[in-house]
């Protein structure tokens, strides 16, 4: 198999609170390859949000290494880490994903333009990304004129626009009803099968089940993993994502 898109190796993250040390993550190993969606499940306080922040270069591990597309973030300058975040990594949160004063197209093209792409190229890539998540017809809409599910599709398009291939999602369906949430997960899953790598943090088993693998986090430690299930290939008509 090729190099993972994201590799966490022995990642520990400690927070100091007065005299005591809180271990948010303890020796976490995780590899996520292109074409793969991995869910991280755990109760609140288990460290799953810290894991996502560390994976995205928003937080720095106390020990261990984080590699994005083979590049060790600890070996990069702050400016280089920022460039990796712009070019390789996209985020989808529960809400407040989109800038309300920009259209869907402008929201999606913004990261490319911030990275120096010319306007025309950025808009073309943004239009492609919107088409890929099934909301190409909403390119000119403002976020307030879209449903929650449509906004999350636009957020997924922005997370994977242009060269970005690593999508980090924190409870992306938390604010949606179950049927709409499922449509968003279907889109997320399809984008991963088309070649992206996804990490989905959730406390909902039903959402985690859309992933190829489910990692269970407890008190900052990976206690177990589920899947790929032996024999499940026979249930799959397509081999995508496996």
């Amino acid at each position: 198999m090729s190099d993972p898109m994201l590799l966490l190796s022995g990642v520990t993250r400690e927070h100091r609170q007065g005299d005591s040390v809180v271990h948010a993550l303890r020796g976490v190993d995780l590899a996520v390859h292109a074409g793969e969606l991995v869910a991280v499940m755990g109760p609140s306080g288990s460290g799953k949000s810290t894991l996502l922040h560390v994976a995205g270069g928003l937080d720095t591990p106390t020990a261990g290494a984080v590699l994005v597309e083979g590049r060790d973030l600890a070996q990069l300058s702050a400016a280089q880490v920022a460039a990796v975040r712009r070019r390789s990594i996209g985020y989808v949160f529960q809400d407040l994903n989109l800038l309300p004063s920009l259209t869907a197209l402008e929201n999606v093209s913004l990261p490319l333009e911030l990275d120096g792409s010319r306007g025309g190229l950025a808009r073309r890539a943004a239009r492609d990304a919107l088409e890929e998540v099934g909301v190409g017809h909403l390119a000119g809409r403002f976020p307030d004129d879209m449903s929650g599910g449509q906004q999350q599709r636009v957020a997924i398009a922005r997370a994977l626009v242009g060269p970005r291939r690593l999508l980090l999602a924190d409870e992306p369906t938390g604010a949606l009803d179950s049927a709409t949430g499922e449509e968003v997960l279907r889109v997320l899953r399809a984008r991963c099968e088309a070649g992206a790598a996804g990490v989905l943090v959730t406390h909902e088993a039903r959402h985690a089940a859309w992933a190829d693998r489910v990692v269970f986090l407890r008190d900052g430690v990976v206690v177990d993993q589920s899947g790929p299930v032996a024999g499940a290939d026979s249930l799959l008509a397509t081999g995508g994502g496996v």
Binding site: A205, V223, D224
Partner: protein
Amino acid sequence: MHTPYMSIRHGLLALLERGPSHGYQLRAEFDAATGATWPLNVGQVYTTLDRLERDGLVAQDGEPDADGRIAYRLTDAGHAEVSGWFASPVSAKSAPRDELAIKLALAVTTPGVDVLSVVQTQRTGTMATLQEFTRLKMRAGDGDDLAWSLVLDSLVFRAEAEIRWLDHCEARVARASAGRPQNTVAHAPASDRAARR
């Protein structure tokens, strides 16, 4: 006949993990552990003990007492069977959901069983099942066959409910063990999962 027998069988073996016992006593302990949600008659207990003896999982412990009652103890194979039962998830397809409730009720009352490991093993097993159902949904597509898709949803929500119940059990067990430093939920001798924690 197959599935209830499997649960009684493992229920009795788990009770014998506490020490030798005879049929009447086992029946009372089984009812006490499971809140009498699934009462056994003593005939079922002795039939099951006979089969367990035939299978080499229990053996008679000494001579019959003054009332003619025979006590049974676990053999080495019986001990292994109990460990294996607690270490493996209940299959949603082949067993009644009651077996899981009974397993957890016995896990919290059987010495030396790491209840949190039992819970996690089941959660992983149920999650694998939930992933299978979700893959079937993916293949079914979005709204092509509504009836089939709703049937799959019922399986998905049932599996999800089981996982939520397991989360709840875990929180309750953790709270109970925080209140009592010395209790039965500490460590499992036969669990490699415990070693990974």
